[in-house]
Amino acid sequence: MKRFWVLGFLLIFIALSVRAQDLTGKQIMEKALNKTSWQDMEADVQLILTNSRGEQRIRKIKMYSRKRNADESDMLMRFIAPPDVKGTGFLIIEHKNSDDDRYLYLPALRRVKRIASSGKGGNFMSSDFTYYDIGKPKLNDWTYKRLPDETVDGHPCYVIECLPASEKVAKETGYGKIIRWIRQDIWVTIKSEYYDRGLRLWKVLTVPKVEKIGDIWFQTDMVMKDVQNNHTSEMVFSNIQINRNIPAQFFTQRYLQRGR
């Protein structure tokens, strides 16, 4: 009987190992993208910008987001600090099949302004993160190749090479290749290398901290280093609250222009 149990465990272990080894790059990416997620969330974000001379500027942002459906979400951000930009608000209404609606509220101008999209490759709040980097990538925008697994900071990771599936994706994102390190235990990306369209290394993302809030793993500290321009941007999330039923009307120009 005892021998039977040992054999059983051994078989399950081998099956799981084979299954993990058999996963393709796309399957791993799909699993990482489709893991349990939030319906709405709010958080305090500290954005630390460091230039090549080591000078720093710190932005504090209150961020609210909600998913309208699987492919579209709304995001409202409001600057809390520094005082010269306090009250500045930014609203993004994402659309699956057309350009996102983007609205900017500048307290100095006292009006909401619809702004042209700088594209997914545009910089998020003047940082080294692009809107693409902070959003959820679309699975079919890329082709995937699984590279040999590696260990990062003691965590076994799947390593996936992502190539743009079309010229349009490459143009929109500005990336010719991305390599992602995805933690095998929690399916969260903890390192990425972004290459420009000439396939030169452009930016390196490291994730010093991940936290579980509810059932969901969050990258709560992300550092993006632009190795070509020697810039660094760090996003630190705190006070994350999820699934609080933020009303849809919160993501409107009316709330944006309240400015606080």
Binding site: L49, N51, S52, E55, R57, I58, A81, P82, P83, D84, K86, S98, D99, D101, R102, A108, L109, R110, R111, K113, R114, I115, A116, S117, S118, G119, G121, G122, N123, S126, H231, R254, R258, R260
Partner: protein, 427 residues
């Protein structure tokens, strides 16, 4: 050089009340937030002998208090110390306390109300907004920040949210004109000019300005339709000859008008296309009063482009068309009164405007605004360099430059060209 100190009486009286309100609110409300800025500014004139038009320091205090989701209170007050040189003859040391904004917001499920002194800006185009007629401009003081050159008004603003449509209604009980740098000649030809003063619209409810604006979106296009009933904020300088006194009589007045407007904006990829138009119906319905503007249409069409490194380009075409305009008649009237013919309005006029914004370096941005009148090729240029020296500290350097042939719109203002340097610490 003689120096004197002036206190703006109205400013200090209003400000005293506002300060009291702010302090009371600040002390009573635990949720009140204080903020503001300290700014040093120097505005040297760009013409010989290059006097400082303005040189001074401003402390602005702001207080914000949010009453949960029911409403809010906001007030800001400026404490200014300023030295001005008038015509190079006299230094005026100027201290004042100026209430910038003070309003209460009340939020209802489908209605927002804002009562008090405030800024209300209409329109979707850049810099030139034919439908934007609520807050006057301070044309003497165009610089880096909108608060410096737009004048707040005491108003009631109501925004009703009616599903697909938002309806905004505004009532401004008290008329405030634009502040314009004007030099009035003491003589016309060989005759002296006697000033009869300025006639402002009566300070009564029937003269209150009001307007409506209906806003909506359709197929990725945001648009609005608006109506405004008020007074032209530009002065009309009316001249008549007094044969008995052998002198000219001059009076400044502000005429009523109605503005029927509309605007739109849509975006695709990195572009935004926008437009704004207003038909201004003045009291000179038959075009026979040379001192009242003819009914006219002004429209602006333009495009924005958003590039990398926060590069934003905006290019706009502006046209103004006068209706019921009889040039021969106007010319004859001007000649009979001895008024300069270069002041004759054009039946149609065209301009180009542009705005370029660019992130020069990590913490340094540059903005260049230009307006070019195509007939006389006269222009206005406003370059602004902004260096974020550290968090909360900004340094602005720039200039307001008017240039053009003598008698042209911007050429007439050449002497008011000036540079500016401002250091602002926000807290």
């Amino acid at each position: 050089m003689m120096g004197r100190r002036i206190w703006r009486r109205t400013g200090s009286r209003g400000s005293g009340i506002l300060l009291l309100l702010m302090l009371t609110t600040g002390l009573l409300a635990q949720t009140a937030e204080w903020g503001g800025y300290l700014k040093f500014f120097a505005h040297p004139n760009l013409n010989e002998p290059y006097p400082f038009d303005r040189l001074g320091t401003r402390l602005q205090l702001t207080i914000t208090n949010q009453f949960a989701e029911k409403g809010a209170f906001f007030a800001s007050v400026d404490f200014n110390y300023e030295e001005t040189r008038v015509q190079g003859t006299e230094n005026i040391r100027h201290m004042d306390v100026f209430p910038v904004e003070a309003y209460v917001d009340l939020f209802f499920p489908r209605l927002d109300l804002r009562l008090g002194k405030q800024f209300i800006f209409w329109g979707k185009t850049d810099w030139i907004n034919p439908t934007d007629n609520i807050n006057p401009w301070d044309y003497k003081n165009i610089s880096a920040e909108i608060e410096d050159y737009r004048i707040p008004v005491t108003a009631l603003k109501a925004d009703a949210y009616l599903g697909q449509f938002d309806l905004e209604a505004v009532v401004v009980p008290h008329f405030i004109p634009h502040l314009i740098p004007m030099e009035m000649p003491d003589t016309m030809g060989i005759f002296p000019v006697h000033d009869l003063g300025t006639v402002l619209p009566a300070n009564k409810l029937s003269e209150a300005e009001f307007g409506f604006r209906l806003k909506s979106s359709l197929w990725n296009v945001d648009y609005s339709l608006s109506y405004y009933n008020g007074h032209d904020k530009f002065p009309s300088v009316e001249v008549s000859f007094d044969p008995m006194g052998r002198q000219f009589l001059r009076q400044i007045s502000y005429h009523p008008y109605q503005v029927f407007g509309g605007d739109f904006i849509t975006t695709f990829n990195k572009f935004a296309v926008k437009g704004e138009a207003a038909y201004i119906l003045t009291d000179d319905r038959d075009g026979r009063d040379i001192f009242v503007k003819n009914p006219h249409l002004q429209y602006v069409v333009g495009m924005d482009y958003m590039g990398i490194n926060k590069l934003t380009l905006n290019l706009q075409f502006v046209q103004t068309l006068l209706f019921r305009y009889d040039e021969a008649y106007e010319r004859t009237q001007y000649q009979q009164l001895g008024m300069p013919l270069e002041m004759l309005p054009d039946k149609h006029s065209e301009s180009l405007s542009s705005r370029i914004q660019y992130q020069l370096a990590d913490f340094t941005s540059f903005q260049l605004i230009t307006v070019l009148n195509l007939k006389d090729m006269d222009y206005f240029v406003l370059p602004i360099l902004n260096y974020a020296f550290m968090d909360g500290v900004n340094i602005y350097a720039g200039a307001t430059i008017f240039q053009g042939p003598e008698g042209s719109v911007f050429g007439r203002n050449e002497k008011f060209s000036r540079a500016f340097l401002e250091v602002k610490y926000s807290f």
